[in-house]
Amino acid sequence: MTTQLRAELLKHRSTPTNLGLIATMAGLVVFAALFHGLTLPGRTIEAPDDQLKVVFGWGGILGTMFAALAGVLSVTAEHRFGTIRPTLLANPKRERVLVAKVFAAAIVGAPMGLLAGALAVGAGVIAFEIRGIPLSLDTGDYLTLVAGGTVAAALWAGIGVGIGTIIRGQVPAVTGVCAWLLFVETVILGSSDALGAVGRHFPGALGRAATGQDALLAPGLAAVFLALYLLLAVAAASIAARRDIV
């Protein structure tokens, strides 16, 4: 298990894929926080909840999404380039390979979430300073934002491994994750109250709740629910991983 984890971490380190993901994520987080902080009408970003969701929250949203993509790509790239064959020849215990990939993705995903949260806070604070809008969040809020984003990104990276194992095609897996996080959940959450109540327990919403963005769900509890999604994803992936490799 430890050796497979080391091998999976080396796979992450030895291609520029993650660097590209991190650079893109960092650029988007800074852009989103600065753009919203500098351009939205002052009255819409003065309340703590608005500052959290409209400006600083981009760290959690983009951190979890890019961590999820790192997890997805760590599996789908193996199928795309055929490296899954030598991987399973070196270690034919597929469940162990899957679990090692989940841990490796979480180890890669956590600092991505940390970086995204820190950049969002930094860029947001700069934007508010420039406009002279007082900061309405306290230190605890910022800590929850960054720490929750770190945990959510680690869990979502693992969920990404599960998704990539189930949907081996790189394009459908990546577009599926992006569409779910950026579109499907948003549509459901914005619909009727009943559907919205269900939707806030979906994994994307739980990622945001883990950063303190859901007043009705404590960040710690949201992280626990998200961890249950991870277990579900790993269980489904362990069955999907038994399929033939062609």
């Binding site: 497979q4 030895s14 380039f81 070196a90 215990k93 038994r242 490799i245």
Partner: protein
């Protein structure tokens, strides 16, 4: 081959191997043994069907240690499917594909017993050759020194730190073979290993496989290049339509003054008709 011969062959090979500890070609002296009760490769009544198409149909054969066996057949004959079944990448619909009497995934430290090269494209193009091998070496729990040993064995040290995407097809084949040799295995399973190799590369592959077999190793090599195979293998299994249609001993052909190509075409044409 009787069990006694298996044991003698493996024992002799192990002692020869200990004298050539790190040349990258020989198999592992510590695990260099053949189970006395089992063939190195044993395929029994093996069948594989995909959505109504039968890729492998009641195929049976076994391989003796110290031999190079060609695995020949037209495109779509079921060669690659059989190799994937042997290596546990696909599950048989029925029958067994065993190595040393076990399924690949049930072998202890399989990379130390079986090395395989399946496709020339099984690499991440942005990863260096050395990192590709290091990933496999770590995952298979092999000594780090094996990476340098196999890079030297396949004469790829000069390009080890280049991204595999910059490699020629021949270099990728050599890297694949390096991966197969990492664990100093007893059995090599190679799918079209001479693809993309220049004449010098083919010659190198031939001598590499012969040296491996002379040390007691077992080689199963699929190929379309009949002329290459004829000079490399001791025996050829010919399959068509997923079924074994003939087992040809090269020595017999030579004695009869026939070529492998003539025999192969007659067999596969007859099967197709």
């Amino acid at each position: 081959m009787p069990a006694e011969s298996h044991a003698q062959s493996a024992s002799a090979a192990a002692s020869r191997n200990s004298a050539r500890a790190h040349d990258g070609l020989t198999f592992n002296a510590a695990t260099g043994r053949s189970d006395e009760s089992s063939d190195a490769v044993g395929v029994r009544s093996l069948s594989k069907r995909f959505r109504g198409t039968t890729a492998v149909d009641d195929l049976s054969f076994s391989l003796r240690p110290g031999t190079i066996t060609g695995f020949l057949g037209p495109n779509g004959a079921g060669k690659s499917t059989t190799l994937r079944l042997l290596l546990g990448l696909s599950e048989p619909t029925s029958g067994q594909a065993l190595l040393f009497g076990h399924r690949y995934r049930d072998l202890e430290q399989p990379a130390r017993r079986v090395g395989a090269l399946l496709e020339s494209g099984d690499y991440h193009p942005a990863r260096t050759g050395r990192d590709h091998l290091r990933v496999l070496q770590i995952a298979a729990n092999l000594p780090a020194a094996r990476v340098e040993a196999v890079l030297e064995a396949v004469e790829l040290e000069h390009a080890a730190d280049q991204k595999v995407g910059t490699y020629s097809l021949g270099m990728r084949q050599r890297l694949g073979l390096a991966g197969a040799l990492l664990g100093q295995p007893e059995v090599l399973i190679l799918d079209e290993p001479s693809n993309g190799l220049d004449p010098a590369g083919v010659q190198w592959l031939r001598s590499t496989l012969r040296a491996f077999a002379d040390e007691g190793g077992t080689v199963l090599v699929s190929s379309h290049a009949l002329a290459d195979v004829a000079e490399t293998v001791d025996e050829a299994l010919v399959i068509a339509g997923g079924r074994l249609v003939a087992t040809i001993r090269i020595a017999d052909l030579t004695a009869e003054g026939r070529t492998l190509e003539e025999a192969y075409l007659r067999l596969t044409t007859k099967e197709a008709a």
